[in-house]
């Protein structure tokens, strides 16, 4: 008898509450999540200074940062910025300590992978090549000479 109202569709007792997940219309997408929901991390590498604050604060050691001196003495060249999502617990501490605000949580949460190594996201710019090094050196020299001319 308990199911009677459900069978006869009295009121809104018989609405199916199921969200058909892969279908973006009947289910929630990443955009429907709350603004402060903590999804996969994203680093806007151009703004990253390579200060390694996130690496130090990460409780499960999932961020690895390596940097080299860059073109500008105030900002280093981030060669490696790996986030291991298989290890990440999405606590948000790294985002809190990020001074330039380059590291953010996206709202994306789908990340199934067939191998653990696929779960490592690399945001780094790669090692500095010799060509870049000579170019930067030249530019620095030119800048200094410009300053001397003034």
């Amino acid at each position: 008898m308990t199911a009677f109202p459900y069978l006869l569709r009295w009121g809104d007792l018989r609405k199916e509450v199921t969200e058909g997940y892969p279908d973006p219309i009947s289910s929630k997408t990443a955009d429907d999540l709350p603004t402060r929901s903590r999804g996969l991390l994203f680093n806007e590498i151009d703004r990253c200074t390579g200060c390694k604050a996130c690496e130090e604060v990460c409780p499960c050691h999932c961020i690895r940062v390596e940097e080299q001196p860059g073109p500008d003495p105030s900002k280093s060249w981030v060669t490696v910025f790996d986030v291991d999502f298989s290890r990440c617990i999405f606590c948000g501490l790294c985002v809190e300590v990020c001074q330039p605000g380059s590291l953010v949580h996206t709202r994306q949460y789908e990340g199934a992978a067939y191998d653990v190594s696929d779960l490592v996201a690399s945001f780094g710019r790669g090692p500095v090549t010799d060509e870049q090094r000579t170019k930067w050196a030249l530019r620095r020299k030119l800048g200094e000479s410009d300053g001397a001319l003034k």
Binding site: E16, V17, T18, E19, G20, Y21, P22, S27, K28, L40, F42, P59, C60, H61, D84, F85, S86, R87, C88, I89, F90, C91, T106, Q108, Y109, E110, G111, A112, A113, Y114, D115, V116, D118, L119, A121, S122
Partner: protein, 157 residues
Amino acid sequence: MSGSFYLSTVGKVLKWARSKSLWYISTGTGCCADEVLGAMGCRYDLERFGCLAQVDPRQADLLIVCGVVSYKVAPYLKELYDEMLAPKYVLAVGSCANCGGPFSQESNYSVVAGADQVIPVDVFVPGCPPRPEAIMNGLIALQEKISGQESNRFENK
């Protein structure tokens, strides 16, 4: 002729059947089990994909490892996996099952660094815990793997 027919049509049908009927057994060793329960429930309804919860490993095709695998529980996980009959699949849900997560080797002496140290894992789902949608995403990835249409679903690189 017959061989190619088998591979093309019959094999496809058999793969389809395997991917659409993943009866699962879930190890509730951690809090990701709650999210799996949420995925089973009426809002996310894992049964849409043909998944049924089983109690006996012999009747299950899919082992959902949700939660931390300690050294104490690892032999039993292996036993559970060995009880299952081929073709069998494993879905590792959450950071602990992926690689130890917050209890990884550097900080804890008693936790295995991921379920794949003990049993072969087919699909890894990141999250701590992952949303039910993420678990279903892993399930769909597994279905694609079974039916031979693998695609790298991880697009945050």
